[in-house]
């Protein structure tokens, strides 16, 4: 059964039709590559799934139940995690503070609950170790390299056991070694039965880990194929519009 099912989802910003009548479903443990040119509507689509935007039209279903969200926190409560394209990091905070932003660990009782720095540093450290990233939980994000910043954003998705992880260009700024780590992480997620949506402009990454590829052009879905049944050439053609639709 599908974990997530989108039916006729559209989103417009004023006159701009960012996403137009998109439907698809993802099963547990499936990795879907989402590709498309700049401005095709990929980020807008995953932001709707992550509760950042509400769709203008259409419905979303999670495990067969309708999914209506008003705030990003609700998406996380449903087990939907996202790595944002711009990473959504606060430079003036530490790595650990960024990882836990919006769901800080606290200790104490009632109104006298204070931030649990120790637990957050420890847990963030564990996650960075798991990601094999040399990122220190106590460092300010301001002073971090592109790869470390990406690790911080990815670490957020590992705080709780998710059902769906949405990754919006998670490999854009990182080294070859760390790309391999991220792709490995995606495989781990898949093996644990977690569905993954990977947005990427890098053809090899998508063909490496994805089971399926969805191509968007100007807000519309123009292809949805098993990886084995497609090829990089075909996907490139679909992205540019050389191939109209399959």
């Amino acid at each position: 059964m599908a974990v997530l099912e989108l039916t006729n989802i559209s989103k417009h910003f004023g006159a701009i039709q960012a996403v137009n009548d998109v439907s698809f479903s993802i099963g547990a443990g499936q990795v879907v590559g989402l590709m498309g040119d700049n401005g095709a509507g990929k980020s807008t689509l995953v932001k709707m799934i992550a509760g950042n935007f509400r769709p203008s039209h259409g419905t979303m279903q999670l495990d067969g139940a309708e999914l209506i969200m008003h705030r990003p926190i609700e998406a996380r409560q449903h087990g939907i995690e996202i790595v944002h394209q711009d990473l959504a990091l606060c430079n003036n905070l530490t790595a650990a503070a960024n990882v836990f932003l919006g769901r800080e660990l606290r200790r104490g009782v009632g109104p006298l609950r204070v931030l649990d720095y120790k637990a957050m540093y420890r847990r963030a450290g564990e996650i960075f170790r798991e990601l094999k990233s040399e990122t220190r939980p106590r460092d300010l994000v301001r002073q971090m390299s592109g790869g470390q910043r990406q690790a911080v954003a990815i670490a957020r998705t590992m705080l709780s056991e998710a059902k769906i992880v949405l990754m919006d260009e998670p490999t854009a700024a990182i080294s070859v070694r760390q790309v391999a780590e991220v792709l490995n992480l995606i495989r781990h997620l898949r093996d644990r039965g977690i569905a993954v949506v990977l947005i990427s402009h890098r053809m090899p990454d998508v063909f490496d880990v994805a089971d399926r590829v969805i191509v968007m052009r100007r807000g519309r879905k123009v292809a949805d194929k098993q990886i084995g049944a497609s090829s990089p050439e075909e996907v490139t053609g679909l992205i540019t519009g050389a191939i109209e639709q399959v």
Partner: protein, 332 residues
């Protein structure tokens, strides 16, 4: 020995000493201490109990509001209305008590006024997207005008049945001879410091100043926090107004005029960054202290009071210079 991943992750970036030496607040504190030492030797009248009592008490009004202002500045905002809000809240207290109500009623009315103004500022800024500068500039004008309306532009110096209670509240020294306003300031600074470091609210205040968009995306209730921050700022002005009324024993419609600049100066000297994302409660106190020491010393050294603005302005530029130097060093 090879450095393992675990060691790297476990490493602390800076020792606490490096952290202190790198902080603007620390160097401003040193400047305050040096100035005090210098003045104790250079003049006979600085290190007297009476003068120190005066200094510490004079610091408090600016310092208390600077605490609230620091929160606003950390979120990347600004509140220009605090001087006028202080005036309006003092006047509401004075008028209500003058009309024969108890001090409790007066304080509730005054605090209520402050919270209402703060909520008004905050809602316009957070929910309607007004620039903080414009909204609070408007409120600067509105609040003072309302104070004039409320009092018919007269001086109020009779506070009804609880007159003496009010004067004791602001003018007394209930604890080891420390002036009451100083006690309030210390308590409020401790609360502010605690909130900034140990609560989720404080964490969100910093997050909004660091990257408001990121805070929104990660589910921080940005709008509500912003409204709260402007309410705290107005509240701090209201509290300072109540205390000042008790201390002065009279309210005119020009108290607190121009105070917003001193308050912003104190916050900035103390390390609050107008671009957002940085600031401390302790810094606000230190900044206020430096301004007051400069003011006081000019008088004692017999320097024409017209120079005051030059020295305080110089202190603002100088304090931020440390921050710039540190940034230059890091970017090299």
């Amino acid at each position: 020995m090879a450095i393992t991943l675990d060691q790297t992750i476990g490493q602390k970036q800076q020792s606490w000493l490096a952290k202190i030496l790198g902080s603007q607040t620390f160097w401003v504190l040193i400047a305050v201490i040096l100035a005090c030492i210098f003045l104790s030797f250079a003049t006979d009248s600085f290190a007297t109990t009476k003068n120190l009592y005066n200094i510490t008490r004079n610091v408090t009004f600016v310092a208390i509001i600077a605490l609230g202002m620091t929160l606003v500045i950390i979120t990347g905002g600004i509140d220009l209305s605090v001087g006028s809000v202080l005036c309006l809240c003092s006047m509401v207290l004075a008028v209500v008590m003058h009309a024969g109500y108890s001090i409790e009623v007066g304080i509730v009315a005054s605090i209520g006024t402050a919270l209402l103004i703060g909520a008004f500022n905050g809602i316009l800024i957070a929910y309607l997207g007004f620039p903080p500068f414009v909204v609070t500039l408007g409120m600067l004008s509105i609040a003072r005008s309302l104070a004039m309306v409320a009092s018919n532009n007269t001086v109020v110096f009779e506070f009804g049945p609880d007159h003496d209670k009010l004067l004791a509240l602001g003018g007394g020294a209930w604890f080891f001879g420390i002036a009451n306003p100083v006690l309030y300031m210390i308590v409020l600074a401790l609360i502010t410091g605690f909130v900034l470091r140990w609560t989720r609210f404080g964490r969100y205040v910093f997050a909004i100043g660091g990257n408001e968009h990121a805070a929104t995306l990660t589910g921080v209730p940005v709008k509500r926090i912003k409204v709260a921050v402007y309410m705290v700022s107005a509240l701090s002005a209201g509290i300072a107004g109540i205390i000042q009324t008790g201390w002065l024993g009279a309210v005119t419609t020009n108290i607190g005029a121009g105070m917003e600049l001193q308050v912003i100066a104190a916050a900035v000297i103390g390390g609050a960054n107008l671009a957002g994302g940085a600031g401390t409660a302790f810094g606000a106190l230190i900044g206020a202290a430096l301004i007051e020491v400069i003011r006081n010393s000019l008088g004692l050294l017999g320097i024409n009071a017209f120079w005051q603005g030059t020295f305080i302005g110089g202190a603002i530029v100088f304090a931020v210079l440390f921050d710039r130097i540190r940034n230059f060093r890091q970017s090299e």
